[in-house]
Amino acid sequence: MQVPPSAGMDTFPQLLIRNAREWGDRPAYREKDLGIWQSWTWREVLGEVRKLSLGLKSLGCKEGDKVAVIGANRPHLYWVFAAVQALGGIPIPVYSDSVAEEIAYVLGHAEVRFAVVEDQEQVDKLLEMSEKLPLLEHVIYEDPKGLRDYDHTSLHRYLSVQEAGQTLLDNDEKLADDWFDAVSAGKSEDIAVILYTSGTTGRPKGVMLTFNNLVVAVQNANKFDNLDENADTVAYLPMAWVGDHVFSYAQCLTAGYCVNCPEGPETVSIDRKEIAPTYMFAPPRVFEGMLTHITVRMEDAGKMKKKLFDYFLNYANQVGERILNGEKVSLFERIKYAVGEFCVYGPLKNEMGFSRVRVAYTAGEAIGPEIFKFYRSIGLNLKQLYGQTESSVFITSQPDGQIYADTVGVPMPDVEVKIAESGEVMYRSPGAFLGYYKNDEATKDTKTEDGWVHTGDAGMFLENGHLKIIDRAKDVGKLTDGSMFAPKYIENKLKFFPNIKEAVTFGNERDYVCAFVNIDLVAVGNWAERNNIAYASYQELAAHPDVYKTIQSHVDQVNKDLSEEPMMAGAQIKRFLVLHKELDPDDGELTRTQKVRRNFVADRYAPLIEAFYAGETSKHVVTEVTFEDGRQGTIEATVEIRDMDTHSTKAMSAIGEAAE
């Protein structure tokens, strides 16, 4: 295929052409299929995208058309973005695990005409909703399994769309040049993508990002971490999430690195180990999960191994982070750490697929300081960043060598950050979004006329210039005695314990703070197994007295921590309970990105909250649940409520001593 000499670098299709020219034979996308890593070079990707693009055009896709992309991370689906953008259309990735109604809402709101989906599961959802989606004309699927007998009047196979494009190309020599010309005509201020935010409150909103937003933000990020075409990353987070769109598409095209798609969600850890990415991103829960997994497995290891593991991890805790930060460390310490690297850290990192990682990011939620420190101490350059869909991800990030577990770093290049009088974090940056799609009111509420964007997060700058995020601004409240109540802040402290998976606290305009706790079934289940405690369900294990005792000790520790922070000391947890069911996105209690929908939970479990403040010690509740197959059912339980002692604050005791 002839790659034209120049096509600009403003849009992603243009960047794709640049990559095919500069790094034509380098791998761009890999996918593990039938047990083997299949790769596509940049030149091949350009060919695939062009075929697809022309095939879509022959179906009627034109400038301004919206094309939904629904499915797991597959190279073929990433190519849809470029294929649609090349035609001047706007791709809209949608969460593939959403139920049919949620998908229908997004597709309806965005006025989608085409949908490119992964498999039968997604096709079925769209067919189910076809009456609500009169504008949806064509559905294109990648995996034909199970779809043979479907009516194919408006249903097309991905491959046949590409073949149609190829036939057109073969028959008309001019077409290839026309396509390249159309790509070159793309402008940086065009809308590149609309990303629907999962929304902890209300309906999802469509965030419009222009090519300029993404390209500039991403170029800065590439510079910040020295990412180039030699990097490798694994794409496994939802494609509809801005993070994946940036890491696996925008950044990949701008830096020219290779994106690797695992076989399926269950094989991610195996595939990551095989690929050993150099650049990776994972939300805190993934790091937590891996650490829990390793801890559980080490319990089963031989005595010798366990001793070695404990000894060297303890040692890494003392020097690992200093070595990573490039601080002064004695030769003896370095040698000893090298021995540890050989015996423990190296194999451990290899097991987790971190052997080649140069930069790893975590964001989205606060990460436990212990977990953060653990990974850094074994030599993984784990950093935190802060961002949101509206900012094309990057707002602040931690520069190498300046890493603090409780902050999210300093503003990225070209990004201005300020704290509003209300305590809310605001930013102005080239990555800041154009607006919400068909929702000017929300746009006006979020983005000021001079370009400052409200993040909705309360935060503050520490003396070292690093930003610290406290909570969602609207969630920060006050107890009746006037002390500050930041629910997320307390919940995160609880969640840092491996036994606690999720926590929800209440206290705004109340006398004291109360907490719902979800236990972590992996960690607590493992503990139960070791202690010969039989249980049949989550519900039974959650109500076990010993489990309660353990959770109580965790809550006590949190209270102790809180008492040491003058601003937070008033918001210690007075009462808590272990919830009888796991919070679940299928029940609407969590968002698709696993964030708690606080108000919804408060409504749903209102009787339990009443019981908290009525001083009851146990409460019988019946809760509706949605099973995996969509059926409704109820579970009921009598939930125990425990009281906690609070710790006196440091400041108070100091006054007390002075008085004596």
Binding site: G35, K145, D151, G264
Partner: protein
């Protein structure tokens, strides 16, 4: 797209139009004085899902063992693909295109999923042991070819994540799926499933049902299935044969069989 449920007549008509793949004529099997199967005749047609049901001890598994040549019936004739036979060794059944799974999982527990499925291809390998041990030239090419086929099955049954896991450590539902995979690796024309859903939870049953339908639909494999879960049987199968104490008491499409008083009698039991 809406799928209309076909009427009883349509279902019957469809069943009649199909070609007979396996025909059993007056088959009887006894162990000493115990009559396991008494004078049973029925057929299995190409491309259908045929259920064999009956209470415990009705002779269902014996029936499967007769079909795949593990038991030799004392009387009767079996015709498979137009070929009549009275007795046959199981490995011949395999080479003729009959594969099966077992009631209690019969996998090589210490071997990985991949190796277990690869074992299913053993009868299709042509190179001798010597060349296979050398793993060179034609033997290597053959192995790669078979490995590709195995990977397709792994993909089909969605068991990529346990490819390298020793099957002994897998949960029961997955072991059953691996067993199905091994049977599929033989690329059978007729697949015998002995209680594929026994001991499974609802979700696993749903998955398994999906896979059985997919195998039937996508690969065009004829399936004979023994199952106790009536919901599954009635939903999946095209025709059902009911056995009781080694006799055939009913044969037909699910709706017919369900309303047959003798079946209700034998299956659910009546108060006498």
């Amino acid at each position: 797209m809406t799928v209309m449920d076909p009427t009883l007549e349509e279902v019957k008509k469809r069943a009649e139009e199909r070609e007979v793949l396996l025909d059993l004529e007056n088959v009887s099997l006894s162990f000493g004085g115990v009559k396991a199967i008494t004078n049973i005749s029925f057929n299995i047609k190409k491309g259908e899902i045929r259920a064999i049901i009956g209470p415990n001890g009705a002779g269902k598994t014996s029936m499967l063992n007769v079909i795949n040549g593990f038991y030799q019936p004392q009387e009767g004739v079996i015709t498979f693909n137009g070929e009549k036979r009275r007795s046959m060794k199981p490995h011949l059944a395999v080479s003729q295109g009959i594969a099966r799974t077992f009631q209690n999982v019969a996998l090589f527990k210490g071997m990985s999923t991949l190796d277990n499925i690869m074992a299913g291809r053993a009868t299709r390998m042509k190179q001798n042991l010597f060349w296979q041990m050398l793993y060179w030239g034609p033997a290597q090419r053959e192995e790669i070819e078979h490995r590709k086929k195995v990977e397709e099955i792994i993909d089909f049954l969605e068991i990529q994540h346990i490819r390298r896991t020793p099957v002994g450590t897998l949960p029961y539902g997955l072991q059953k799926r691996v067993e199905l995979a091994r049977a599929l690796a033989m690329e059978p024309e007729l697949l015998l499933l002995d209680e594929p859903m026994a001991g499974m939870n609802l979700e696993e049953k749903e998955d398994m049902s999906r896979f059985i339908l997919d195998v039937n639909d996508q690969l065009g494999t004829t399936i004979a299935l023994i199952e106790h879960d009536m919901g599954v049987v009635m939903d999946l199968s095209d025709r059902v044969v009911v056995l009781d104490y080694g006799r055939k008491i009913a044969d037909g499409v699910p709706e017919e069989v369900q309303s047959n008083p003798e079946v209700i009698d034998a299956y659910l039991g009546v108060s006498h």
